[in-house]
Amino acid sequence: MTDGEALKVVGPLTSYEISQFAAQVRSVFDLKPDTPVKMAEFLELVFQHVLPDCHIEVEPDEEMPGVDGATLIGSPVIKFRATTYDDLRREDPEARFTAAHEIGHALLHSTRPLYHASRSAYVKETDPEWQADQFAAAFLMPEAAFRRCGTAGEAMQLFKCADHHVRDRATALNHRFGGIQLELNLFPLSTKKEERDHSRPS
């Protein structure tokens, strides 16, 4: 897209509003905040109960070059390229985020009008991609449970999310991990010194 082309925009939503909405969605499905959602099962077997017309399609990789997932506007069909779908079944963090992102599109945008705006008038709160990312992060990493994580690694493990998504979520929530302190506690200097001493040739 060149600078002169129009942007696709939707009605504005703040990060807080999207977070609240994602929490409501989790609540509707009775998803526990500190348990990672099994995204493939959720998408194919559970989500349809809220959007009965919603189903997923898996396309051969060559039919979706460079695209991991897509949601059709006007009918909530979520498409995945075959490789992404296989990754999703293996609970790959990036594929899980893609799936949550597409769920965000299906819930937030499949029935809302899409407008075109000048590229120079970019406002992130009206960008459907930004909104879907915010939804995915909030859906996969509920705020309260996220704040209880001492390190980014702990959050990555708990929510099965990639490092950069965890760090983006921390930034969005203005949350600082106590990672450095904890890492020092895990490897106290005295222990390291003893290890060094023991490893010295006698």
Binding site: A40, E41, E44, L45, Q48, H55, I56, E57, V58, E59, P60, A82, Y85, D86, R89
Partner: protein, 123 residues
Amino acid sequence: MAANLPLGNELRKIRQDAGLLLGDLADRLNVSASFLSQVENGKKRIPDGFIGRLTGALNLSPQQQRNLERAAAHSAKTFEIRLGNEASVNDRQLAHVLSAHFARLTPASKKKIMEIVTGEHDD
């Protein structure tokens, strides 16, 4: 393109009722998830013997199998009449006449043929 949708919808319903992901059923059928997805979404023609494989893979009841076969019939746009090597000239002629003149048959004629073939009568 939505040629196979009745079959696809029926298949998706049976699969989801069984708690299976697309990939799970694809594994059981030894096909790719994208192939099965395209069958479900009416983008791929149903291969020969596919309903039988589905029946085995999903352990379908006779009623479920009949529903799938009916849905497959409603989905298909073309049908093949397979003639064995021993097919007589009359057999070949009948197959040809049926395929060539099917569109011109009246509803009453089609009903009569259906009754002859299936042995089912409305009365």
